[in-house]
């Protein structure tokens, strides 16, 4: 079975672009990824696209070339990019194709996401009562986690401050102003214990990745990064999950834990080998919990690790070196490919002011979202 290599990445910076369609941003990200790989669009065998707001990302071919290639659109909530990468990887492994483009693009209005609750297996009254809110779930989940494991609100502020600090030195970030822990704690309380500046925001942007059969990667690059595994999971009975009207008293881990375990097993790599992580920091509490859910630390160790700077760019296990969702926002379909873009950029030693002192060899990317979906990818160089 062929290994899969990433040979090019492209990013249309996330942010606000009034009047600019998501597909236009997607076309720019695709061109950047192709140029980075040194691959002509006419040599691409297949493509996978993901978006929440655009029904058919394959429409991008009108901008980048009507070559007739098979182009599959996938959507899996905040884990969309994980599913898109998994599908692309499988197509290469099956020997069906050798070179593919994975593209994510989106354009959201501001403020917390909303939808028809019944589309998420939640009843109408749940939305009418104001309970159909991801931010409220995240407040409840981290509040219990803090109670059980002694995590402090100061730790949450440190996580957010790190995100803004990384964003400030990332020319492509959306939020480029460093904020102090005091400013973060003093901002408006949205869902206790999470303040305004501890949250990311839905925004706009696109990201693209060129993947190929690893056997031909060296035709295109001296620095291929290998996509060792991608695992996606949904919640099991007993997990405390977003948009749940009720939860069982018997308790099982979150879907991220299941996806991470499967991804590590498939890659033959353990969490102790990970040197850089891109985690779903929809808010600061999520980054704290996801550190443990992907096995980077035990529950409760985050206070000391984060206070000691372990997750900063120069720390032992840097997390969200490009500022993560907090500093970049979340265009849902593209967000996970931004994570991959950053892992690849760091692994090639091309991250500029935010480059890790030692170029990392093993990275993990993790996505989580409503109504309880997760994806974990393992990359190596």
């Amino acid at each position: 079975m062929p290994d899969v290599a990433i040979i090019g990445v492209g990013l249309h910076p996330f942010g606000r672009y009034p009047g600019k369609p998501a597909l236009t941003m997607g076309a720019e990200a695709a061109r950047l990824a192709l140029a980075d790989a040194g691959v002509a669009w006419t040599d691409v065998d297949f493509a996978v696209g993901g978006s929440y707001e655009v029904d058919q990302p394959d429409a991008v071919v009108a901008e980048i070339g009507l070559t007739g290639l098979p182009f599959t659109n996938v959507y899996n909530g905040c884990a969309t990019a994980g599913s898109a990468l998994a599908l692309a990887k499988q197509q290469i492994e099956l020997g069906e194709h050798r070179i593919g483009l994975v593209l994510g693009l989106d354009k959201h209005e501001g403020g917390a996401f909303t939808a028809d609750p019944t589309s998420y297996a939640a009843p109408e009254w749940y939305g009418e009562m104001g309970l159909f809110l991801t931010t409220k779930f995240f407040g409840m989940k981290i509040n219990r986690y803090m109670h059980d494991h002694g995590i402090t609100q100061q730790t949450l502020a440190r996580v957010a401050a790190k995100a803004y600090a990384n964003g400030a030195i990332n020319p492509q970030a959306f939020r480029r102003k460093a904020l102090s822990e005091e400013e973060i704690l003093a901002s408006r309380m949205l869902n206790f214990p999470l303040t305004h500046y501890m949250f990311c925001t839905p925004d706009e942007g696109a990201a693209a990745v060129v993947v190929c059969d690893a056997a031909i990667a060296h035709r295109y690059t001296d620095t291929p990064v290998y996509l060792r595994s991608v695992a996606t999971r949904t919640r099991r009975y007993g997990a405390f999950e977003v948009h749940g009207t009720s939860a069982a008293i018997e308790h099982v881990p979150a879907p991220t834990v299941d996806a991470a375990k499967a991804a590590y097993e498939a890659a033959g790599i353990g969490p102790e080998e990970v040197q850089i992580a891109q985690l779903q920091d929809t808010d600061a509490g999520n980054e704290v919990m996801h550190m443990a859910e992907v096995g980077l630390c035990a529950d409760g160790e985050q206070n000391d690790l984060i206070a000691a700077g372990a997750t900063t760019i120069t720390g032992r296990i840097p997390v969200n070196t490009d500022g993560g969702l907090i500093a970049n926002g979340e265009p849902v379909g593209a967000s996970g490919l931004r994570q991959v873009h950053e892992l690849v950029t760091q692994m090639r030693g091309r991250a500029g002011d935010r480059q890790m002192p030692t170029v990392p060899r093993v990275g993990v990317a993790q996505l989580y979202g409503a109504p309880g979906v997760a994806a974990v990818s393992i990359l190596t160089r």
Binding site: G111, A112, T114, D116, P117, P123, E124, W125, G127, E128, M129, G130, L131, F132, L133, K136, G139, M140, K141, N143, R144, H147, D148, H149, G150, R188, M189, L190, N191, F192, P193, L194, Y237, F240, G244, T245, S246, A247, A248, I249, G300
Partner: protein
């Protein structure tokens, strides 16, 4: 208090001692709320009606510091919700944890493990001028704290 329930089949009403209407699986016994067409644990169809206990303890909570977008339709301000309001996950011992609005609480007195009881509260006035009511949990002065809810520092 009269009033029209926010949804049918959600809680017993009118009643002096309202109860939430859940489902109980005939195959594996798992409880669910609200009652669904299938069991969330084993997938068997047709869970039967199960009235969930009216007393429990607070498993976790958060504040709601902004007005949700549609389909939220609660009344904020005079006679309605004050911002922030509070929501939580309430553990009904031996049964299930239920997400609900919390009423009669403030940030200062909310504690994980505090005893709560089910109440029915006014929610909004509908287009026909009828009062719509919904369920919430309020502090239960007669209840007992959950036994395993000490803070981490106290437990260590």
């Amino acid at each position: 208090m009269a009033g029209v329930p926010i949804a049918d089949g959600l809680f017993t009403w009118p009643s002096d001692e309202p109860r939430l209407i859940g489902g109980s699986c005939g195959r594996c016994g798992a409880l669910s709320f609200p009652r669904r067409a299938g069991c969330p644990r084993c997938g068997a169809s047709g869970p039967v009606e199960h009235l969930i206990g009216a007393r429990g303890t607070l498993w976790t909570w958060t504040s709601q510091g902004f007005a949700p977008k549609e389909p939220f339709n609660g009344a904020i301000g005079e006679g309605g919700l004050g911002v922030p309001w509070y929501v939580g996950l309430v553990e009904i011992p031996g049964e299930i944890r239920v997400e609900a609005l919390l009423t009669g609480v403030s940030e200062e007195d909310l504690r994980i493990g505090m005893p709560l009881r089910l109440v029915v509260v006014p929610w909004r006035t509908d287009d026909e001028g009828r009062e719509v009511v919904t369920f919430a949990f309020a502090p239960d002065p007669d209840g007992q704290r959950s036994s395993e809810t000490e803070e981490v520092g106290a437990r260590a």
